[in-house]
């Protein structure tokens, strides 16, 4: 499968480990992710105008690139746009739906973009997990060479993969897609009652304390449920849950740190793709001691 792929800004900087592990894992599964040329910000940080139509110009521009890739023969009749970051996924899928439902808005945006070719409204924004589900988790399991054994994983979804319902990739009340994936990788699944709770998102800039409390709840609930690590597909969730553990520990002395994985890192690990593809050094809480203890990584590596 050769599919247009949208990386997003974080994946080129702070979330390199999400991208590298995803590309390698997808390639193992025969998915060729072709980065769309001339992509711009997914649109999530744009907030200049008081009406919100302007917010959708950037995402729609990325959708136009997918049309161009088809027209230029870079991909063959593939109008799905693959994303990894939950935030990019949510923003761009939201815009795609918005303009599909509101032709007047689309006209306005097309008119405004002027020199760009018109967006025709037929690109579908998808998340890698959806593609995996479509391939069948059994099939994913066949690629596993390094089963995750008794590693106890609490999948965390946060908001952007689930809400609103029209955008979400799974049942917003009872998502299972993560559990299904990690089970196929051989991990033991622990249910975290806080798996859908918001991590605090951009409050991390203005109200760090709020985020520290939320992340503390999510992580300590996972710990109580018996999890050894949690997962995410969102660089912002990762920052709040992983990098903020330093501040959490300062505020809550009894807090035990816990590794936070991108889902793709666990795929790369289970597929036996090597540490350069897992990029655990990009994680704030180093997961390697845990993985070595579980014999999932070689000693001394």
């Amino acid at each position: 499968m050769k599919i247009p792929y949208y990386p997003g800004c974080s994946l080129k900087t702070t979330a390199r480990n999400l991208e590298v592990s995803a590309l390698a894992s997808a390639s193992t599964l025969g998915i060729e992710m072709v980065e769309i040329p001339r992509w711009n910000c997914c649109g999530t940080v744009f907030s200049l105008t008081s009406d919100d139509l302007m917010h959708h110009v950037a995402p729609v521009r990325n959708l136009v690139r997918v049309q161009e890739m088809n027209r230029q023969g870079i991909v063959d009749n593939e109008y799905r746009l693959l994303t990894l970051c939950s935030m990019c996924f949510n923003t761009m899928k939201g815009s795609a739906l918005r303009v599909a439902d509101n032709p007047d808005d689309l006209d306005k945006i097309n008119n405004f973009m002027d020199r760009e070719e018109d967006y025709e409204g037929n690109v579908e924004v998808v998340h890698l997990m959806e593609i995996l589900r479509e391939m069948g988790f059994d099939k994913i399991g066949e690629a596993v060479t390094n089963p995750l054994g008794d590693l106890k994983i609490a999948p965390y979804y946060g908001c952007m993969l689930l809400r609103p319902k029209e955008i979400g990739i799974d049942d917003p009340e009872d998502p299972t897609i993560g559990a299904d994936l990690f089970r196929a990788l051989g991990a033991e699944i622990v249910d975290n009652p806080y798996k859908k709770v918001c991590c605090g998102a951009y409050h991390t800039v203005a109200d760090k304390n709020l985020v520290i409390d939320l992340a503390y709840s999510i992580l300590s609930q996972a710990d109580k449920a018996g999890a050894e690590a949690i997962t995410t597909s969102c660089p912002l969730c990762a920052f709040n849950l992983d990098a903020r553990q330093k501040e959490i520990a300062e505020k809550y002395p009894e807090f035990k740190t816990m590794p936070v994985f991108y889902f793709t890192q666990l795929m790369a690990l289970a597929f036996g793709l090597g540490e350069d593809k897992c990029m655990f050094e990009g994680n704030y809480v180093d997961p390697r001691p845990l993985l070595r203890a579980k014999a999932l990584l070689k000693e001394g590596s």
């Binding site: 080129k12 711009n40 200049l48 950037a58 020199r115």
Partner: protein, 251 residues
């Protein structure tokens, strides 16, 4: 010798329009233009700058290199019957019938202050100095405004994610005229952001050639002092001989 003198006269004659201003006597084709709203009839085929001069304007500002490098003659225009606001370098653009012209010789623009030798080569530094980059809404107006046809929005997006190399490559042909910044709804000074990114890439992203370091060390040691002593002591005939005897390195 007379013939040689006349060669110079022929050359001077053929270039008169370019070197001394245009005489209207032998103009056949004309166009109408508007300079800040006032209409003028000017010879067809001139650049905007030449046309304005023909019309009687002597540039004090808004003219610099007259060859497309300095960005002083940034011009905004609209054509009769079109809503589009276009841009051009006056010295590099042919005048067209129905152009409404205005010059923008100066762009008030934010410039950050930094010491390039003390900056660290990381993705966040561009945003530290130019936080307004994050205000980009990808409206692409900057790209449309660029008289060099650069993908300005693309390099601002690259700046947003800290990709110095992409900013440097995409902005390399920038003449810093400022039209992008003047048109930007997010009030970003694209050309200054690009300047900083290029310098960071030039200093930290590109390699330090070893042959330069080596040559500087040799100079320090005085390796060429003897050569120069000999050259400076040589008389002209000796120099001429040495010059004629130079071996040209292979192509």
């Amino acid at each position: 010798m007379n013939e040689e003198k006349s060669i110079m006269d022929i050359i001077a004659d053929a270039n008169k329009a370019v070197t001394t201003g245009i005489d209207s006597a032998d103009i056949e084709h004309w166009v109408n233009i508007y300079i800040m709203g006032r209409g003028y009839k000017v010879p067809a085929g001139l650049t905007i700058m030449q046309a304005m001069e023909y019309a009687g304007y002597k540039f004090i500002t808004a003219a610099g290199c007259r060859a497309g490098f300095c960005g002083a003659c940034a011009t905004v225009y609209r054509k009769e019957g079109s809503y589009q606001l276009k841009t051009a370098m006056a010295c590099q653009t042919r005048v067209e019938d129905g152009m409404y012209l205005v010059q923008i010789p100066f762009a008030p623009a934010q410039e950050a202050f930094y010491d390039i030798s003390k900056e660290s080569y990381n993705a966040a530094m561009l945003l530290k100095h130019y936080p307004e980059v994050a205000r980009c809404v990808a409206c692409n107006t900057c790209t449309k405004a660029c008289p060099q046809d650069l993908e300005v929005m693309d390099y601002i997006q690259a700046a947003l994610r800290g990709d110095f190399e992409a900013v440097a490559e995409l902005s390399f042909d920038c003449i810093m005229c400022g039209l992008c910044a003047i048109r930007c709804p997010a009030e970003i000074t694209q050309f200054n952001v690009a300047q900083l990114a290029r310098r960071m890439y030039g200093r930290y992203g590109m390699k330090e050639p070893e042959h330069i370091t080596k040559r500087l060390a040799e100079m320090e040691k005085g390796n060429y002092d003897d050569d120069f002593k000999k050259l400076l002591a040589a008389d002209i005939e000796e120099l001429k001989k040495r010059y004629a005897d130079r071996k040209r390195e292979a192509d």
